[in-house]
Symmetry: C2
Subunit: 107 residues, 2 copies
């Protein structure tokens, strides 16, 4: 896999999907956030948010802690060290792609 283009074309879909890219980028900026804050942020339906978070958790990119706050369920979400690494790397790849595109010419 020589060029950034090829790298991007085969990019990690888990992270690249827009909703999850937003979530991971936001989570990389804070210690933790709860379900509703993330829902307000992204505008996702609760169903979609739930599925996206589960997917991120299964891959070890976030951890979820479920507790009761004021007698109501509350889910705190936190990015893992692995998650922080892969999202940072993902942004690096995107930046590389954009930079390299400036002077690409067809063979």
């Amino acid at each position: 896999m020589s060029s950034v283009f090829a790298e991007i074309a085969a990019l990690d879909k888990l992270l690249h999907e827009p909703a999850r890219l937003s979530l991971m980028t936001a989570l990389s900026a804070c210690k933790s956030a709860d379900f509703l804050a993330l829902q307000r942020l992204t505008g996702l339906t609760s169903g979609n948010l739930s599925v996206h978070l589960s997917k991120l958790e299964e891959s070890g990119l976030v951890v979820m802690e479920k507790q009761f706050v004021d007698k109501r369920p509350n889910t705190q979400v936190q990015i893992t060290e692995k998650g922080r690494q892969v999202i940072e790397n993902h942004w690096r790849q995107l930046e590389n792609l954009r930079r390299d595109a400036q002077n690409w010419r067809p063979d």
Copy 2:
């Protein structure tokens, strides 16, 4: 739609899909490129490349010109003005997301 996060979460999938993001970014850097150059660049199978390009063409983001060169079929692909606008806007949105993430805090 208030935040960049929400904008991104509802981002144009057509452009965001990694292969097409690569293709459009590359095409925005040159007058035109042919099928094989794009295939070399992205590492896509010809089947996938064909489908992705057709999708971009249907949406008016690229135009394709089919001709014979040295007795062989040859497909030249060129980004349209609309295509140039939407890919540039897409990159702007991604940059905004990343910038805004730096100082996001859960409500």
